[in-house]
Structure formats: structure tokens, C-alpha cells
């Protein structure tokens, strides 16, 4: 089995996790910028984090033969402070041309506030100006439906943005349809206690088709499973899905989306 982990916060994982992922068939890992679990005090903290994502972490992954890619942004959880967000967005161009940076992400909303909306629009503008792919985080739990609607409105209202170059992540049964109908890609996050279980993710694939869907573990410092994608592949096999179809879901689809950025290359 081969697969791509399109959304993993590897800075918060151990080298054992890298080893396990590669052993399970991981061919590339992609790491969006996220919240550290505490608010960073200033732009310098983000500068250091972006260095970690674009320099140190690819080297750590390379020790296990794993290509590592990154997405850059200030996370929606830190977007209430618009001035800080402006400063952080101001330094992203220093990193955007690094060989492992795929685009802007994971941007989006958290509590659906006005300031979060402003910062989302600033990120979308940066992505449009730099012709970058976009990875969007949709809010948690009770805030997801509203946040997804607002995010789609922002993306659709910027005519420079092509939906096929944006992935809206963490969709569930109540949001997936509107994301796909609008022409965007949709990501399903496999978490043990929230978001999607493997069984529900496969239900969604069976209901909505596999054309513009991917699955990720979004493993971070919270309750999450770095091997959630290959485990879901096993669940697909138990349901009788073919090896070819499973390969499309866990390898070819993420490769097709991220391959829109010419920097994304898989080992031959």
C-alpha cells in the first residue's frame, strides 16, 4: 500500500511516528501551519515556526526517506489579533518560494468572528497575488456549518480564486455537499473523538464519489492517530473496495490536488 498524508502536524509528533508512517507506505507528508496550543507573542515566533516548517522538519522527515511539504499562514485561532496577523502575512513572502512550500494554509475560521473574516480575506488575497494553492480549515463542531458557509462566500467572491485549487478540509456529512457543489476539493479528517471516523469517511466517499475528496489524519498534539489514513484503507478493503479505488483515494487524489503546485514531486 502507498499513501500520502496530506495534513499532518509533524512538529508535534515523534520520530517513531515518522518511522511508523513510512513503514505503512507513506510516500509524502504535507504540514499546514497551525496553532501551537498557546498564542505566540509576536511575529518573530511565527518566523521561527516557518523556519522549522520549511527547513528543520523536511530534514527530519528526509532521515526516513519521506518528502515533507508545508503550507504557511497564521492560524484562524490566532486571527482575532488583526495587527499581528498583518505582520505575519507580511513575512510569508520570504518563505513562499522555498522548494517545499505548497501554498497558503490552513487558513479559515474558528469562531466565525469579524476579525477572523478579515484575516481570512487577507490570506486569500495573498494566495491570489502569489498564485498559491489554498488549504482551508473549517471550524469545529457547532461552528462548522456556519464557518463553511462564510468561507465559501469569501472564496467565491474573489474572482481570482479557482475552486479546483482550494481544498476545504474537515468536512462532515452536513458540509461536504455544498463544498463539492461549489467546485472545491474537500478533505475528511479522521479523528477518534470528533470530525470523521473511518467508517463515516467511507460512507461519504460512497455517497458523494471520490472525484475531489481526500482523507487525512491531521495528527497533532491532541488526540489523533498518525496512521489513520492507512487504517481507513484497511476499512475500505473490509468493505470490498478494490485496491485500485483505494489507491485513488489515499494516493492519487492528494497527488493530483497538490501536483497543481509544480514543486510537489514524489520519489520515482
Amino acid at each position: 500500500m502507498r499513501y500520502i498524508e496530506p495534513h499532518g502536524h509533524m512538529v508535534s509528533r515523534t520520530t517513531d511516528d515518522y518511522q511508523d508512517m513510512v513503514t505503512a507506505g507513506c510516500a509524502a507528508v504535507c504540514e499546514p501551519a497551525f496553532w501551537a496550543g498557546y498564542d505566540r507573542k509576536g511575529v518573530q515566533g511565527f518566523h521561527d515556526y516557518f523556519c522549522q516548517l520549511t527547513d528543520y522538519e523536511p530534514k527530519r522527515a528526509a532521515k526516513f526517506g519521506l518528502p515533507h511539504y508545508a503550507w504557511l499562514c497564521i492560524n484562524p485561532k490566532e486571527s482575532e489579533d488583526v495587527k499581528l496577523a498583518e505582520e505575519v502575512i507580511g513575512i510569508i513572502p520570504q518563505f513562499i518560494d522555498k522548494p517545499s512550500v505548497l501554498g497558503i494554509g490552513e487558513i479559515g475560521l474558528n469562531k466565525n468572528s469579524r476579525n477572523e473574516m478579515k484575516v481570512l480575506e487577507m490570506h486569500v488575497d495573498l494566495a491570489a497575488r502569489t498564485n498559491s494553492l489554498i488549504l482551508v480549515h473549517t471550524p469545529h463542531l457547532e461552528d462548522k456549518l456556519k464557518g463553511t458557509r462564510l468561507i465559501l462566500d469569501v472564496l467565491k467572491s474573489d474572482k481570482r480564486i479557482k475552486p479546483e485549487r482550494c481544498i476545504i478540509d474537515h468536512v462532515e456529512e452536513h458540509t461536504v455537499q455544498r463544498v463539492l457543489d461549489a467546485g472545491f476539493w474537500a478533505g475528511m479528517t479522521l479523528y477518534p473523538e470528533s470530525k470523521c471516523s473511518p467508517a463515516r469517511a467511507i460512507d461519504i466517499i460512497e455517497t458523494y464519489g471520490a472525484e475531489r475528496l481526500w482523507m487525512n489524519s491531521a495528527c497533532d498534539w491532541g488526540v489523533s492517530v498518525p496512521l489513520a489514513v492507512p487504517r481507513t484503507a484497511l476499512e475500505m478493503r473490509r468493505r470490498g473496495h478494490s485496491a485500485k479505488f483505494i489507491d485513488q483515494m489515499i494516493f492519487q487524489n492528494p497527488a493530483r490536488f497538490m501536483g497543481q503546485c509544480p514543486k510537489f514531486k514524489l520519489p520515482a
Binding site: 496553532w35 466565525n112 469579524r114 457547532e142 461552528d143 462532515e172
Partner: protein
């Protein structure tokens, strides 16, 4: 998959989860003090389970969701609790 195959694969797991929900409701009953909006949302969402049409998972998620469409003035914090505190 046939319905038989779905039952083979998922019946035991679903049965287990249903008993967990029943025990959770018993636990809430046994406890003291007033509940909050989350219990009301839970009971509302449970009604969707007995529906005859597919789309139950979507309807359960919608029952817990904030249905409003305007951004709020300021984020009250970072977390989400799983249910929308209607009118709060």
C-alpha cells in the same frame, strides 16, 4: 455491500455505541443540579435517529449546529463545546 454484510461488519459496534448513549442518559438522570443547553441539543439530535429517511448523520450534525449566517462581533475564546447555545 449487502445489508447482511453491513450488519456483519457494523452491528456489534453500533449496538455498543447505542448502549453507551443509553448509559450516558441514565448517568445524567442520576446526577444532581440543572443541565445546560447541551442536553437539550442532544435530545433534539436523538429524534433524528428514528427518522425513516437516509441522511440521519447529516441531520444529527445540523441539530447541534449554529444556524445563523452573520459573523459574530468578537471570538469569545477559542474552543467549541459541541452544541449551539441558542439565543445566548
Amino acid at each position: 455491500m449487502t445489508r447482511q454484510q453491513v450488519l456483519e461488519l457494523y452491528f456489534m459496534e453500533a449496538r455498543f455505541k447505542l448502549v453507551e448513549v443509553a448509559a450516558f442518559l441514565d448517568r445524567v438522570d442520576r446526577a444532581k443540579g440543572p443541565p445546560d443547553f447541551r442536553l437539550a441539543a442532544f435530545r433534539k439530535a436523538m429524534k433524528e435517529l428514528s427518522g425513516k429517511k437516509p441522511g440521519r448523520a447529516k441531520k444529527v450534525l445540523l441539530a447541534f449546529s449554529d444556524p445563523t449566517t452573520k459573523p459574530i462581533a468578537k471570538a469569545p475564546g477559542k474552543g467549541a463545546c459541541g452544541a449551539w447555545p441558542a439565543g445566548k
